[in-house]
């Protein structure tokens, strides 16, 4: 399995993000990536970032100037295990999905049907996407089941 690439230094404390410390942005952020990747997503989206530590995970909210809101959820050690989005247009899902993007493309090609262009849902063993909307109103959630911390209910991630 090619997901989950912990970076060297990925044990760096998640809370360093709290102070909005600007970290060295890696070339590509991704689901399954470390906390640095959240900052990379922020930069790619010209957005504001605020991070909140919760009991079982950290929530990073990225707000773009045009009103798109992306939430990235990372484990306490810092691995991004889920993302959600809402906006008039979808965000850059290649950026958000990283190594999982290929699965998304394949599933979209397989699931697309006439009369059914307002949603895309699929659940692969290691990657789940729930996506819906149309122009001016897109929303979705994607997560990697194997990375979800014990005790976290994915259904409740907004």
């Amino acid at each position: 399995m090619k997901f989950h690439h912990p970076r060297p230094g990925f044990t760096r404390c998640t809370f360093s993000l709290l102070g909005l410390l600007v970290l060295q942005a890696p070339a590509m952020a991704h689901l399954g990536g470390d906390a640095d990747s959240v900052a990379a997503d922020r930069d790619a989206m010209h957005a504001q970032l605020s991070s909140t530590p919760m009991q079982l995970y950290s929530l990073h909210e990225i707000d773009t100037p045009s009103g798109t809101v992306v939430h990235e959820y990372s484990t306490r050690p810092g691995t991004v295990f889920a993302v959600t989005w809402q906006g008039q247009l979808p965000p850059d899902l290649a950026q958000l999905f990283g190594n999982y993007y290929k699965q998304y493309q394949d599933a979209a090609a397989a699931h697309s049907r006439p009369g059914m262009h307002r949603q895309l849902n699929f659940a692969n063993p290691d990657f789940v996407v729930e996506s819906t909307g149309r122009l001016r109103s897109f929303r979705g959630k994607a997560y990697v089941p194997s990375l979800v911390p014990a005790g976290v209910s994915v259904a409740e991630l907004q």
Binding site: S131, T132, L135
Partner: protein, 445 residues
């Protein structure tokens, strides 16, 4: 093999001789000889009327290879602006869930209509193109200006999006922005929509609106987060560009002379088991003629700026719900307890995506409550049948449903697709327009 696969496999045959042809009213101008002088229909309308065209649910265009169920079609005539050079295209999907006319390049080419790509007013020598995101893919292609005629109505010089399904548009899909990333897969084909085009008659005037018009002054300028329009140079390189609302792809109804505040989609009631096809009407204007009054019995649900209202189903509050003739089933989140869950079709080798639909052992009767932004509430009963039990020759089926995204961020959807329309007149009023006793955006039924 599921009934659905059989539908898809159901080639040509045109079982639907009775409903075939997509035929608009016989008074439609025929190819290349239609007069461009608008008879703009402000006069008396008969019960049919120049503001009414026939909507047909059938197998659709031959190129759609047997089509799919519950797709409503009309005929649309496009003319080179200000001329009588026109062509009529059949099998155009009527979509209350989007705004603007999009035509397959192959259909226009086959009909012999040629029209230059729309010039970019901000970049001399450049032309305009658009990438439209859908939840499951994207379309890519140029813009053109056309006089769009539907029945007796004319939208002069309206921007139309050409979906480049035949490779006739030289600029490739731009990489590294939303066409390449948030859409995932190309929907540039007749088969992707089972239609030669999509007529978006939703609650909005323009497809994108102020975001695309004002993006130049946004932080970061026009980008994938705020724009879907491109300016393409003579080297076939395209980049994001702002586009004024009047030049954007617009709901043609908004440009009609009189009947420009919305539409009414009317389809007959049909048996729960479905039938081979259906024929109804698309009426232009609400309260503008003797034949299009807003019924005093109609429930008026005002929507938000995207056309959404709230549906409550099985104790789930679905705050981004909408009425969409472009969806061919009722797509809604399944129940969350054993008592409320509807059986989903099992995926199989022959149909690995069968689970896109519900398969209850016997038909289930459900209710949901719609609530408009204006607080108006309406209880809607509906029935879901095992999709595999439906007659594979039936193109109109009022009891088909599928599971929708259960838990997307900040509000999920009940997608009231075409089954909702059977036995109803559904009013769609355009944002900001007075339509009968209410002001759009609203849906009423």
């Amino acid at each position: 093999m599921s009934a659905y696969v059989r539908w898809l496999a159901l080639l040509s045959l045109c079982v639907l001789a009775g409903c075939g042809g997509g035929g608009g009213s016989s008074s439609d101008p025929s190819n290349s000889s239609g007069s461009s002088t608008s008879s703009s229909s402000s006069g008396v309308s008969s019960s049919s009327g120049s503001n009414v065209v026939t909507v047909t649910v059938n197998a659709g265009p031959a190129a759609a290879q047997g089509g799919t169920i519950n797709i409503p079609y009309i005929s649309v005539t496009l003319c080179q602006p200000g001329t009588s050079t026109c062509t009529t295209i059949n099998d155009v999907l009527v979509d209350t869930g989007s705004s603007g006319l999009r035509m397959m390049a192959s259909a226009l080419q086959a009909a012999g209509l040629t029209q230059a790509d729309l010039a970019d007013p901000n970049n001399a020598g450049n032309t305009l193109a658009e990438c439209v995101p859908f939840a499951d893919g994207y379309t890519w292609g140029p813009l053109m200006s056309a006089d769009v005629k539907i029945g007796g109505e004319v939208a002069p010089g309206v921007t139309v999006n050409i979906i480049d399904d035949n490779g006739s548009f030289a600029p490739a899909v731009p990489n590294n922005d939303h066409c390449a990333t948030h859409g995932a897969t190309s929907l540039n084909s007749v088969t992707a929509f089972a239609a030669n085009g999509v007529l978006g008659v939703g609650v909005l005037d323009q497809d994108c609106g102020s975001s695309c018009a004002e993006c130049a002054s946004a932080v970061g300028g026009c980008n994938a987060d705020n724009d879907i329009y491109y300016s393409c140079n003579t080297s076939n390189t395209c980049g994001f560009t702002p586009l004024a609302p009047t030049l954007q792809v617009r709901n043609p109804v908004a440009l009609f002379a009189v009947d420009n505040n919305g539409v009414i989609v009317t389809l007959p009631a049909i048996p729960a088991a479905g039938q081979v096809g259906a024929s109804g009407s698309l009426t232009f204007g609400i309260g503008t003629q003797a034949n299009n009054a807003l019924s005093s019995a109609a429930v008026v649900l005002t929507t938000d700026g995207a056309g959404n209202f709230t549906t409550t189903y099985n104790s789930q509050t679905l705050s981004s719900s909408f009425i969409d003739s472009g969806s061919n089933a009722l797509y809604f989140p399944n129940g969350t307890t054993p008592e409320t869950m509807i059986t989903v079709c099992p995926d199989t080798q022959s149909d690995p995506n069968a689970s896109d639909f519900y398969c209850p052992a016997s038909p289930v009767s459900e209710t949901a409550i719609n609530r408009g932004q204006n607080g108006t509430m309406s209880t809607v009963p509906f029935e879901i049948t095992n999709v595999n039990s439906l007659n594979a020759n039936f193109y109109a089926t009022p009891t088909i449903g599928g599971p929708a995204t259960p838990a997307a961020m900040l509000g999920s959807s009940f997608d009231w697709g075409l089954p909702f329309f059977y036995g109803k007149s559904v009013y769609v009023a355009i944002d900001g327009m007075t339509a009968g006793s209410a002001i759009g955006p609203y849906n009423a039924y």
